[in-house]
């Protein structure tokens, strides 16, 4: 099975200085990858390289088609006057000429995507007036309209209410069954165990592989350094909590 997203010996960064290096991983159709790492550890840099915003300083990146990127909702303009439907319809830009107005078919696709994420009733609500979880689901709807084979999500569960998290879990399962590859940055070490693969980053690639085999105490400590608290260590899997330091 060929990979839909693949990095080999990747180094990427800013101003010619690498923020990450030696990153090698791949995900095929229907596979999910959790990217773990401390704040400033290079997750966002990796994603920028995957979507083509940063050219590799070394190594290579290959992505099937144009990936759909879902940033953290606080990076969007909450004061921008657009409805949930308008935002979802933006996904059509990836597959239609940019100079044409939004077509009826695009609006229908956006309405369908909102229905899929359970927000059809909020289609006309201003994006900035939605809750954090609802906003995240609208951004997912935009990714659905984009019809990308690869979805890249930056901490989609951060600050999300349980109902939205459950809906997103269901959606991810559906997307996997449709053969899409999903790469998700997360701070939740426990949640990362439910993914097919886990990629641990701390300026460089610490480890990549199946979560059960990869998430050892040594790997977690190398990934998070002082930002990890190991709660329990026995014969079973290591339980650990990543201490988050979000900038607000």
């Amino acid at each position: 099975m060929s990979a839909l997203v693949e990095a080999r010996g990747l180094a990427a960064g800013y101003g010619g200085r690498p923020a990450i290096h030696d990153v090698t991983f791949a995900a095929g159709a229907g596979r999910t990858v959790a990217v773990l790492g401390p704040n400033g550890g290079g997750k966002t840099t990796l994603f920028r390289a995957l979507v083509g915003e940063l050219a590799p300083l070394a190594g290579s990146v290959r992505v099937a088609g144009r990936p759909a990127y879902v940033a953290q909702t606080e990076r969007t303009r909450l004061d921008f006057p657009v409805s949930a439907l308008d935002v979802a319809a933006m996904g059509a830009l990836a597959r239609s000429p940019w100079w044409l107005p939004v077509r009826g078919a695009d609006r229908s696709a956006a309405a369908e995507a909102l229905q899929r994420v359970g927000l059809e009733a909020e289609a006309r609500t201003r994006f900035g007036a939605l809750s954090g979880g609802q906003r995240q689901r609208v951004l997912l709807a935009r990714a659905l309209v984009q019809e990308a084979e690869v979805l890249i999500l930056d901490e989609p569960f951060a600050g999300v209410d349980p109902a939205s998290a459950e809906r997103m879990d269901t959606l991810f399962a559906e997307l996997r069954s449709e053969g899409r590859a999903i790469v998700v940055a997360t701070h939740d070490v426990a949640a990362a165990r439910d993914f097919d693969r886990v990629l641990c980053l701390n300026d460089r690639q610490v480890a990549f592989g199946e979560p059960a085999r990869t998430l050892s105490r040594r790997v977690l400590e190398a990934t998070y350094e002082s930002e990890i608290v190991v709660l329990e260590e026995d014969d079973g899997p290591v339980r650990a909590v990543a201490v988050q330091h979000h900038e607000h």
Binding site: V51, R75, T76, F80, P81, V82
Partner: protein, 286 residues
């Protein structure tokens, strides 16, 4: 009633008044609409820099005797090049580079303006005068409205996508830098045309004041653009009336009216809050 009709029609009975009216309406319509994106992209300072940076081009055009529009465009191109070159040095930083480049261009404009051969139009170049609009100025403003309007319509979706979520816009296939440059190109063209009516120092008002007036009240970008254009036209015409009846400079009068509209619009509560207040009043006893 005849007094009111006279009050309204008198300023525009002459050809000068009619051309001034047409110039202000055309420039205000496109500037007010475009201004929404200028503010949304955080380009107010950049637009001001371009406006000030074009002074040497204007003065040089007046000295050589070529159309001011060409001089303005050349001035903007040189200013943009200088800002870009200076901004490439990370030790300087974009803000400082812009300030130095623009101040340098203003200084150069001042040196040229003191040349003995300069026609007596420096005041007009700095503060503008819609009453001096000629047929070719109206043609340029009309062309800007048509071409600029088409460009804004074509760029609407990319502008909205980049303004809303710059990081995701790239994955939608949009070059965020190219979209911003296209917007700056529209700003430059608008400044080069509008500067003849409003002058080098006041032209920014037509771009920045209207969106300040309407931004809090618009529910979509399209409505913000239409509202901005409408506010700019109304304020611009009001400025011409004030200029005629109070016998004050037309360019400054239009700029002041635009800024007054911005103040009023910004002070008004957003639509949702006004409806809420009306509801409270209706429910209030007695």
């Amino acid at each position: 009633m005849p007094d009111l009709v006279d009050f309204l029609l008198e300023p525009f009975r002459s050809g000068i008044g009619q051309r001034a009216l047409a110039e202000v309406v055309l420039v205000a319509a496109i500037g007010g609409a475009l201004g929404f994106w200028v503010l949304t992209f955080g380009l107010a300072y950049g637009a001001e820099s371009l406006a000030h940076g074009l002074l040497p081009g204007l003065v040089a055009a007046a000295l050589v005797g070529v159309p001011l529009l060409l001089g303005g465009l050349a001035g903007i191109a040189v200013a943009a090049l200088l800002v870009w070159l200076a901004g490439r040095d990370e030790r300087v930083g974009t803000d400082a580079a812009t300030a130095v480049a623009v101040t340098g261009m203003l200084g150069l404009g001042g040196v040229l303006a003191l040349a003995p051969d300069l026609p007596p139009r420096l005041g007009e170049l700095l503060f503008g005068d819609p009453l001096s609009a000629r047929a070719q100025d109206l043609a340029a403003a009309g062309g800007l409205v048509v071409l600029g309007g088409l460009a804004l319509a074509a760029l609407h979706r990319p502008l909205a996508a980049v303004a809303f979520d710059r990081e995701a816009a790239r994955s939608l296939g949009l070059g965020t830098g190219r979209v911003t440059i296209a917007l700056l190109g529209l700003v430059a063209a608008t400044l080069a045309v509008a500067v003849q009516g409003l002058g080098n120092l006041l032209v920014l008002a037509v771009l920045v004041a209207p969106p300040v007036a309407v931004r809090r009240h618009a529910s979509t970008p399209a409505r913000a653009m239409l509202g901005g254009g409408a506010v700019a036209v109304v304020a611009g015409v009001a400025g011409l009336y004030a200029s005629y009846h109070l016998e004050i400079a037309a360019g400054a009068s239009v700029a002041l009216a635009l800024c007054l509209a911005a103040g009023v619009g910004a002070a008004l509560p957003p639509r949702g809050r006004r409806a809420l207040a009306r509801g409270r009043l209706r429910r209030a006893p007695g």
